[in-house]
């Protein structure tokens, strides 16, 4: 099943054209990596998929789970099965991680016509995921990302991913700012999440995350368009030769 399809997607931010015609299809069971230098439009792509204000599709189409996203709100896209992993997870003082996670999972359940999750079941599940991600359950009582280290923030993102079980995870530079140990924990989370039913898109600068997560496709994005696609071998080529020369490919 097609989880995501981009056809000739062009987009602008504050009237500045950033994406210049992207074609991409992600099917269930696939893991894709989008690599590219700074300023190539990777984060814009993430925001445009999420339906963020200020980001405008100027041409082309986006389909999520086979349906066009036109007119869908941010939360509707999430409830359809899209999960965005943020490059810089922000802090929300005053809102506890626990409250945030509970309201998020309940929003998903209610949209499926189910009842809110029993608090005890919720706690069991969240504690189990936290343990697997080597996150202390103390983090649940604290405000969202407030006082978390860079690695803890990213693990908190993966915790949300594993709890919400979306159809498509679009992870924007989840590996940035991580030491090797944290990188391995995050990669383990992604590997546990992936299945034949869902898809993953990893957006990254570097090949190093791909040492821990096997990818099926690698796409090189430069100046708002995908200039080359291939298998995992392409990531090794970028690591060896850099992005130079790929722009004209």
């Amino acid at each position: 099943m097609k989880l995501l399809e981009l056809r000739g997607l062009a987009a602008s931010v504050d009237e500045k054209q950033i994406l210049n015609g992207i074609d991409l299809t992600v099917n269930a069971g696939e893991v894709h990596a989008i690599m590219g230098p700074n300023g190539s439009g990777k984060s814009t792509l993430s925001n445009i998929l999420g339906g963020r204000d200020g980001y405008t599709v100027t041409e082309g189409e986006i389909e999520l789970m086979g349906a066009p996203v036109n007119g869908m709100s941010v939360e509707e896209r999430a409830l359809t099965g899209l999960f965005l992993g943020f490059q810089h997870p922000i802090e929300i003082p005053g809102v506890t991680n626990m409250e945030f996670l509970k309201v998020a999972i309940d929003s998903h359940r209610i949209s499926l016509g189910e009842e809110e999750m029993n608090t005890r079941d919720f706690m069991v599940q969240v504690r189990d995921i936290s343990k697997r991600l080597e996150l202390s359950t103390e983090f649940l009582k604290r405000f969202v990302n407030v006082g978390f280290s860079g690695g803890e923030k990213k693990r908190n993102e993966i915790l949300q991913l594993m709890l919400l079980q979306p159809r498509l995870a679009f992870l924007d530079e989840t590996d940035s700012g991580l030491d090797v140990d944290a990188l391995q924990v995050v990669a383990r989370g992604i590997n546990e999440f992936r299945s034949d039913e869902n898809g993953v898109v990893l957006v990254t600068h570097y090949q190093r995350l791909l040492n821990y997560v096997n990818v099926d496709f690698v796409h090189i994005m430069i100046n708002g368009t995908i200039v080359k696609s291939g298998d995992a071998q392409l990531a090794h080529e970028v690591e060896t030769h850099g992005y130079t020369g790929l722009g004209e490919a």
Binding site: A78, I90, P93, G94, S111
Partner: protein, 370 residues
């Protein structure tokens, strides 16, 4: 046709009416100190300075109209309680009428002329506690004294009426004050004045909704070294309510510390005002004083006015102040919504989170549904 009267004439007439007012039930109470201060200072010009946003005359008219007497003290523990209408000595009758020279705060003196009920509460134990109910549409006045090395916690609720609370915190004593102000249908004036002696501690936990008109003054006079004042609180004002909160932090001696943190939310057509004034005397070197006030407007017609002021007359101080007024953070809103949380719920979560950072009391948490 009636000729419109200039504002200062109207103010003069109002002042005369206050000064001529005699509270019949308490002829023995000496109100001369308050009257002479009013006579001397007069009334402020309306819609200027500290009265820029709130109708001073409406508050005075309201105080003049309140004729009931009400025993607001709900309970006390380890505290000596004396009602003002049971004076034992002449000095005690004078004490109630005096405002100890707070300065140019005419509503404190108007309260001194008009109040009909009140208490004197003294704590000599570390475990003193009192609960004070709403003024219930009356004019009342409470004197509190936390004696040397003693402690007292106050849980006060106030909606409407006119109330002045005067607190002396003696050497090394501690006052913890929870002031909870639910929505009020009418007009309300509340003033809390605190004098801090050497080594004393004052903590204020404020939580407020709005009222038709509500003015809330907090005046802290730091008179002793090593005294500490920590003030925090939040408010949520909606509908067409009005809340005007003013804090005056006066550091009269050095080596003292004050910290203020207030968050306000306004919605619908409501208006909030926050004025935070820090004064540091010439003799108050080695003072540390900080103030932050953040406001969020949830609707385009809501208004939040914020005015932090610093007046420093010495070097060797550490001071900061800041005030912001804006909307809910777009990035936070996007994060919550991107996890499937509907926009309305996400806004409610962020609004509560914003207030939770500064509202810690049980009463405040419950009032603001945090």
């Amino acid at each position: 046709m009636a000729v419109p009267q200039p504002a200062n004439t109207l103010q003069g007439d109002l002042l005369k009416r206050v000064l001529a007012h005699e509270v019949q039930e308490t002829p023995w109470l000496d109100r001369s100190a308050s009257k002479s201060l009013l006579n001397c200072n007069g009334f402020p010009f309306p819609w200027k300075g500290r009265w820029q946003y709130s109708d001073f005359r409406a508050l005075v008219e309201d105080a003049l109209s309140l004729e009931g007497a009400h025993n607001a003290l709900q309970s006390s523990h380890d505290v000596d309680v004396r009602r003002f209408d049971q004076p034992e000595t002449e000095a005690q009758t004078m004490e109630f009428g005096s405002s100890d020279g707070v300065g140019d705060f005419p509503l404190i003196d108007i309260n001194g002329v008009l109040f009909r009920s009140g208490t004197k509460l003294s704590s000599i134990a570390k475990t003193g506690s009192v609960k004070v109910n709403d003024a219930n549409g009356s004019v009342d006045r409470h004197l509190m004294s936390i004696e040397q090395d003693a402690g007292m916690t106050v849980e006060e609720t106030f909606k409407t009426g006119n109330r002045v609370v005067l607190c002396h915190v003696r050497d090394n004593a501690k006052l913890e004050y929870e002031l909870t102000m639910p929505h009020g249908e009418g007009i309300g004036y509340h003033c809390l004045v605190v004098w801090l002696a050497k080594g004393s501690t004052f903590e204020l936990h404020l939580a407020s909704k709005g009222a038709q008109v509500r003015r809330n003054d907090v005046i802290v006079n730091v008179l002793g070294e090593n005294a500490t004042a920590t003030l925090s609180g939040g408010w949520f004002v909606d509908g067409s309510d009005h809340l005007d909160s003013q804090v005056y932090m006066n550091h009269r001696v050095g080596g003292s510390h004050s910290e203020q943190s207030f968050h306000g939310v306004v919605d619908d057509r409501a208006r909030s005002v926050f004025s935070g004034f820090i004064h540091i005397d010439r003799n108050a070197s080695a003072t540390e004083a900080h103030l932050t006030n953040r406001n969020i407007a949830l609707s385009t017609q809501a208004r939040a006015h914020a005015q932090p002021e610093l007046e420093i007359y010495t070097d060797d101080v550490i001071c900061s102040h800041g005030a912001t007024t804006g909307h809910l953070d777009d990035d936070s809103l996007f994060l919550l919504r991107s996890r499937g949380i509907g926009e309305e719920s996400a806004r409610a979560m962020l609004t509560k989170g914003f207030l939770r950072q500064v509202v810690h009391s049980e009463g405040g948490t419950s009032l603001l549904n945090l």
